[in-house]
Structure formats: structure tokens, C-alpha cells
């Protein structure tokens, strides 16, 4: 009857090791496949390939596979290594990384503010049915207004500054956290609540010792969503906010230069994606540490 937990934990760790190797393998396979499909499309239906005196004329025309719409992967990689504008010292990649760090800072502040706001609202709602009934519909309605429409309004109220961008990121992040936390704070077994009552525990103690710890898996599910959403919010907000130090501005200005140099916009898109994935992974790593020892922590 007595399992040997140490042994099973060892096995689980070994399985984790194997699955981690497997996951990296899958990622590499996926990236290679992406490049193959990308270049394959250009090979079949793009512009003529001219390299070292060798020429290839694709047999068909695919409307989005021209060198303007879909530059060669190596062109994008080459542009990343080259100067970000004529006679600049900084390479495009380094330039974009600094822009990404700036955007990340705005996003992270919005992410934290949205998280705190979401947890706070959910805590209020689960303790008051009246407030929940009164305000949750407005919380939901707030999310039906497109951010593109709302962003200029926010900038109008708070001015052309980082504050506006942070508020836009907060607006995009508090909602998933609120909804997940309403669920998470209500997730404890009713008997666990009775157990706490049998200890004559106060509401605050029940919140602190039972509801909040029980809600953490729900919180992290929401935070993984909002990590990427906060970056989208920051990038979008930088346009109307006229913030020139972030990725949003790079995307806008490289978009204007697209006809002469499409690779730069693609580079900015990849760095944006990289930023989103990195932020997601940071949250995931924190999640694994915080939820260590729980049965759910090994999943997803």
C-alpha cells in the first residue's frame, strides 16, 4: 500500500527531463518546417531566385510570395545583422532588442497593475453578491470595446506618455485575471470552508490561508494569457501615445519603409513575437516554482 514517493518522484523527474528534451526537439522541428514551408512557397510561386549566377524561375505566381510580401528568410536574418538605418552603428537586431526592452517595461507595469486590479476586483466580488451582480456586467462590457477605439481616448485623457501605454496594457490584462480569480477564489471544496469555520477562522484568514492559495493555479492560467496580451496592449498603445522608444513605433515606421525594405518590418514582427514568448516563459517558470508540489503543477 505504501508507495515509495522518493522513487516515484525520481521517475517523474526523469520523465520531465525526457519531455523537456522532447519539447525542444518539437520546437526545432517546427521552426525548420516553418522555414521549409516559407521558402517552399517562394520556390514554387515567388519572384525569380538569382544567386551566384544561378537562376530559378518559379513556375507559378502566388500572390503573397513575392520578395516584397514575403522576403527570403536569409534576407530577414541579413537585415537583422545589418545597421538599423543607413550609416547607423547599431545592428537592427540590437536596436529592436532595446526597443523590445522598453516595450516590455511598459507591458510589465500594465501586467502587474492589471493583475493586482483583477485579484482585487475578484476578491470584492466573491465577498459581495450585490457588487458582483452590479459590476461584473460592466467588467465584461468594458472588454467589448475594441482597444483600437479606446486607445486614442486614453491618450486624450492621460497625455502622450508612458502612463497611457501602461493603462492600455492594464485594460487588456485585468479582465482575464478577474474572471479566473472569481473562479479560483471559489474553487475550494465546501468542506474545506467548513473546516476553516470549525476553526473559527475569520473571512480574512480564510482568504489568506485557503482561497488565495487554492486560486493560484487559476491565477497563473490567466497570467499566461495576460503576459502576451500586455505586450500587444503596449505595442498598440505606443502608436496613439506617440511613444518612440518602443517596438510599436518601430513597427509603424518600418511599415512606412516597407516598399524599400520589407525585411525590417518582418524583423520587428519576429522580435515582437520573441518578446511575447519570452514573457510567457518567464511567467511559466515562476508558475512551476510557485506551484511546486501540487499535482497540477506537472501539467500544461
Amino acid at each position: 500500500m505504501r508507495r515509495s514517493p522518493d522513487r516515484s518522484r525520481g521517475l517523474a523527474a526523469a520523465a520531465g527531463q525526457r519531455s523537456r528534451v522532447g519539447r525542444i526537439g518539437i520546437l526545432v522541428v517546427f521552426l525548420v518546417a516553418l522555414v521549409v514551408v516559407w521558402e517552399g512557397l517562394k520556390f514554387i510561386g515567388g519572384d525569380p531566385w538569382r544567386y551566384f549566377g544561378w537562376e530559378w524561375h518559379p513556375p507559378v505566381k502566388i500572390w503573397f510570395a513575392s520578395d516584397l510580401d514575403l522576403p527570403h528568410v536569409w534576407q530577414i536574418v541579413g537585415a537583422m545583422g545589418g545597421p538599423w538605418r543607413r550609416s547607423a552603428d547599431q545592428s537592427l537586431f540590437v536596436y529592436l532588442v532595446f526597443k523590445a526592452l522598453y516595450t516590455w517595461r511598459e507591458a510589465a507595469i500594465g501586467f502587474l497593475a492589471g493583475g493586482v486590479l483583477g485579484v482585487g476586483l475578484a476578491t470584492i466580488f466573491i465577498h459581495s453578491r450585490i457588487l458582483e451582480r452590479a459590476f461584473v456586467p460592466y467588467v465584461v462590457a468594458s472588454q467589448t470595446v475594441p482597444i483600437i477605439a479606446l486607445a486614442p481616448m486614453i491618450v486624450f485623457f492621460f497625455g502622450n506618455n508612458v502612463m497611457s501605454v501602461v493603462i492600455i496594457a492594464t485594460y487588456l490584462t485585468f479582465f482575464p485575471v478577474t474572471i479566473a480569480m472569481i473562479r479560483g477564489l471559489r474553487s475550494p471544496d465546501p468542506r474545506a470552508l467548513e473546516l476553516m469555520r470549525s476553526y473559527a477562522a475569520s473571512r480574512r484568514t480564510i482568504l489568506w490561508k485557503l482561497r488565495l492559495p487554492a486560486s493560484l493555479p487559476y491565477l497563473f492560467t490567466a497570467l499566461k494569457i495576460t503576459a502576451t496580451a500586455s505586450i500587444v496592449g503596449a505595442i498598440i498603445g505606443e502608436g496613439p501615445g506617440a511613444i518612440q522608444d518602443g517596438l510599436g513605433w518601430s513597427i509603424i515606421s518600418f511599415n512606412q519603409q516597407y516598399i524599400t525594405d520589407p525585411s525590417k518590418l518582418w524583423g520587428a514582427i519576429f522580435v515582437s513575437a520573441l518578446l511575447g514568448i519570452t514573457f510567457y516563459l518567464v511567467v511559466r517558470i515562476v508558475e512551476l516554482r510557485v506551484l511546486r508540489g501540487r499535482p497540477q503543477a506537472t501539467a500544461g
Binding site: M1, R2, R3, P5, S8, R9, D189, R191, A192, E194, L195, M196, R197, S198, Y199, A200, A201, T205, K209, L210, P213, A214, L216, L291, G293, R294, P295
Partner: protein, 278 residues
């Protein structure tokens, strides 16, 4: 009410309002006294209100009529004074806490100092024989072990009454019998008053000093049986004549009083005929 009385119920009734305006009486007319150090089982068919009665005693729900007095004070005050240890059918352990952290939980809430806390947790884990598993997480333990953690947690702050709501209902027969012996050992060591809800007749007879047989709709006390089998009880108890006689008495009380006289054959003889005892 003597000084030894721990639980005193008089005229207790509980009625639930149902949606649609009707109401359902879960228990009615309950009068009961439980003395210090007793082991009392509540047994009855599903829906007889035995869990409701346990929750009334523990102030997890309040009576519609009558009074519940614990150690000479209202049940509500007893709950605030932390007189109750609770064990449910599911262990209800907090899965983010290790075994020792789970056992420590009530002491944290009650603001006990760190050092006496650690000593007490160690003592409790020794009592339920889980010292080696102090740093494991609940999901790494079997169902029986988890329930032992729940018992340790319920006893850690030395409540005067242990309320157990079908604590071994989810365990297999073998584990259940071992847990029964375990609970008796703990009860004998601590001298705590136990109120134990169960579906199982053998379990009720084996454990209890008194078995309260309840009938359903509305829940009432049908009969109270003293179980005067010798202690300490062990494997021999389960094979003894007296035990079978008591099991039969409880079974007959549950059936609503059709006695052995009607059937013309004694319970012990019947058990022998069925090959249950030699």
C-alpha cells in the same frame, strides 16, 4: 446535566426551506446527552439526518428549534472556543501544503508560537504514525494515509470533541478495518469524546461505547444501544459472539424493530448457520 456531560441536545429540530416554498424536516425531536470520553456512533439509512445532526452539534448549521449545548455553553460559543475537531469523508487536505504543514494549519490560525507548534505537530504525526512522511505532499499518500493526516490535523489543537462524518466511507474494507483500530488506539490515548457518523454496522459496533440508531423522514432517534464489549478491542472482538449479537441488534433496530422473536431464531445461531463464527 452532570459535570461530565459534553454534548447536550434538547428538542433539536432542523427544517430546510426548499425552493418553491415547501420545507423538509431533516431531524426532529432529538434529545441526547453525551458524556466526556464517550465514543458515540450515529447510524441510519441515507437521508436520516445523521450528518445534519453532526453539523448541528458542530455549529456548521443552526437548529430551527431546540438547543445544542457543548461543555455547558451554546454550540456557537463552543466553535469560537475551538472545541471541535472535524474529519470528513474526504480528507480535505490543502494540496499546496506538505503533511506537516497541513497538521500545523489549525495551530497557525490559533496563533500558537513556532516552537510549541513544531513540537505538537511532531507529536501528532507520531500519534498517526506518519513521521516519515512529514515533508510529503498529500497527493503522494494513499487514501488511508491522507485520512490519518486529517485526523492528526483535527487533534492537533486538543479540541474536546472529535466530529467524524463517515471518515472511512471512501476506503476499502481492509484499510477501513485497520483505520478503525487506529482510531480506537488514538481515542484511548487521548481520552477525547468522539461522535462518529457511519453507514457501516460492524464499524459502529466495533468502535462505539454507544450506538445511536436513527430512522428517516424525519430523522429521529429510533434506539440507543450500549456496546459494552470489553476493551481494548481488536481482531478477537470482531470474531466474538458478543460482537455478532450487537451487530444483529443494531441491524434489527435499523429495520425498525422486527426482532428475533418474530423470526424464531437467535442472531448468534443464525451467524453460526451462515458460517460466520465457529
Amino acid at each position: 446535566m452532570t459535570a461530565q456531560t459534553v454534548v447536550s441536545l434538547s428538542g433539536v429540530e432542523k427544517t430546510f426551506e426548499l425552493p418553491g416554498g415547501s420545507s423538509m424536516t431533516a431531524v426532529s425531536g432529538i434529545d441526547m446527552e453525551i458524556r466526556k470520553g464517550e465514543f458515540v456512533s450515529l447510524i441510519g439509512p441515507s437521508g436520516c439526518g445523521k450528518s445534519t445532526l453532526l453539523r448541528l452539534i458542530g455549529d456548521l448549521t443552526q437548529p430551527s428549534a431546540g438547543s445544542v449545548t457543548i461543555n455547558g455553553k451554546p454550540a456557537h460559543q463552543a466553535r469560537l472556543d475551538r472545541d471541535y475537531g472535524m474529519v470528513f469523508q474526504a480528507p480535505v487536505l490543502f494540496d499546496w501544503r506538505t503533511v506537516e504543514e497541513n497538521v500545523r494549519l489549525p495551530l497557525e490560525l490559533m496563533g500558537q508560537g513556532r516552537e510549541s507548534r513544531e513540537a505538537r505537530v511532531r507529536e501528532m504525526l507520531e500519534l498517526v504514525e506518519l513521521t516519515d512522511f512529514a515533508r510529503h505532499h498529500p497527493y503522494q499518500l494513499s487514501g488511508g494515509m491522507q485520512q490519518r493526516v486529517a485526523i492528526a490535523r483535527a487533534l492537533t489543537f486538543s479540541p474536546s470533541i472529535l466530529l467524524m462524518d463517515e471518515p472511512f466511507g471512501a476506503l476499502d474494507e481492509m484499510t477501513r478495518e485497520r483505520m478503525n483500530s487506529e482510531v480506537l488506539r488514538i481515542w484511548e490515548q487521548t481520552g477525547i469524546t468522539v461522535i462518529f457518523v457511519t453507514h457501516s454496522i460492524p464499524e459502529a459496533v466495533f468502535l462505539s461505547s454507544r450506538v445511536v440508531v436513527m430512522s428517516a423522514r424525519p430523522g429521529r432517534v429510533a434506539r440507543v444501544l450500549e456496546i459494552d464489549l470489553p476493551r481494548p478491542r481488536g481482531v478477537e472482538t470482531r470474531e466474538s459472539r458478543g460482537y455478532f449479537e450487537k451487530v444483529t441488534q443494531v441491524r434489527e433496530a435499523l429495520r425498525g424493530g422486527e426482532g428475533r422473536a418474530d423470526e424464531g431464531i437467535g442472531s448468534v445461531e443464525r451467524a453460526e448457520a451462515e458460517g460466520l463464527i465457529g
